[in-house]
Amino acid sequence: PVTKRAVAEAAQHDKVPRPVGFVPPPPPCPGKIRHFDI
């Protein structure tokens, strides 16, 4: 029997596996503000 739980797990398996502790990279530009924005 197909259950909701199995469907959810299958959906998870479709995603690209990411290593533990993965932090998405910051957007490449613009860069960080060093002082303040005006």
Partner: protein
């Protein structure tokens, strides 16, 4: 043969920051007016490969005005960025650089500076003094009064005005005009200038013959002037001590284009 495509450079990548540092030094080194500018943000970066070990880098930079006059000997790293409520001035620059065999150099730059809007300042600080035009009558009057006052008291060389850098006016709780201006030493003492001021000529363009004055003229309730000037040749470098607690530091130029 087209060069192999490179991974796009991020604005906070070390290579972008290295290029921005070269660009900011170039911009300050080629400016003759106002204050030194410091990097606030790298807005955009594009790299166009030209061949092996050769690339053109296009940078879009957001700079902020510091308190160090452009003629000051203080290194940029020791210059304090002017705070938001001091009515900050921003510089937007487009810079074209070349990276050849690992060495970065500037090919061209174009900058435009502008002061923050009065509305932005008053929203945060309703009574803060605001920048006014450098040819404002009260600014001119205050610069003249301060320089005359200084020259009447100094035992050093007679100073001439080179350039007004900043003028701010506050109306509440007192009517106060704050001015900052660059000066040059002349070949006359202040005493000699009293006899024939027209004969006093600016000394050669050596950094030690330049100086900077900052002061205030209170217009109401009681009129008085207070300020000081110092020649860079006589200055002990103390870059991060606030203005008015030491003589000679500061001046700016808003609305200025350079290329």
């Amino acid at each position: 043969v087209p060069a192999a495509p490179l991974a796009p450079l991020g604005c906070d990548d070390p290579e972008s920051e290295a290029a921005a540092e070269v660009a900011v030094n170039y911009i300050n080194g080629h400016s003759h007016h106002g204050f030194k500018f410091a990097l606030n943000r790298i807005e955009d970066v594009h790299v166009v490969p030209q061949g092996p070990n050769n690339a053109i880098i296009f940078l879009e930079l957001d700079l902020l005005e510091t308190k160090c006059p452009i003629l000051s000997p203080t290194p940029l790293a020791n210059c304090t960025v002017r705070s938001f409520i001091e009515h900050a001035v921003e510089g937007d620059c487009d810079v074209k650089l070349q990276k050849l065999d690992g060495k970065i150099s500037v090919l061209a730059s174009k900058c435009h500076s502008h002061a923050d809007s009065n509305k932005d300042i008053t929203k945060v600080c309703p009574d803060c003094p605001l920048l006014v035009n450098l040819n404002n009558t009260e600014v001119l009057e205050s610069v003249s009064a301060l320089l005359n006052d200084f020259n009447s008291k100094t035992t050093g060389p007679y100073l001439r005005l080179l350039e007004i850098g900043r003028g701010k006016i506050q109306y509440y709780p007192s009517h106060v005009v704050t001015v900052e201006f660059a000066v040059g030493a002349t070949n006359c003492s202040a005493e000699e200038a009293k006899v024939n001021v027209e004969a006093c000529q600016l000394l050669p363009e050596d950094q030690s013959n330049f100086g900077f004055c900052i002061g205030t003229m209170v217009k109401h309730p009681i009129q008085n002037v207070h300020g000081d000037c110092q020649l860079y040749g006589h200055q002990v470098p103390t870059p991060d001590i606030p203005l008015l607690s030491r003589p000679g530091v500061t001046y700016a130029h808003a609305g200025q284009d350079t290329s």
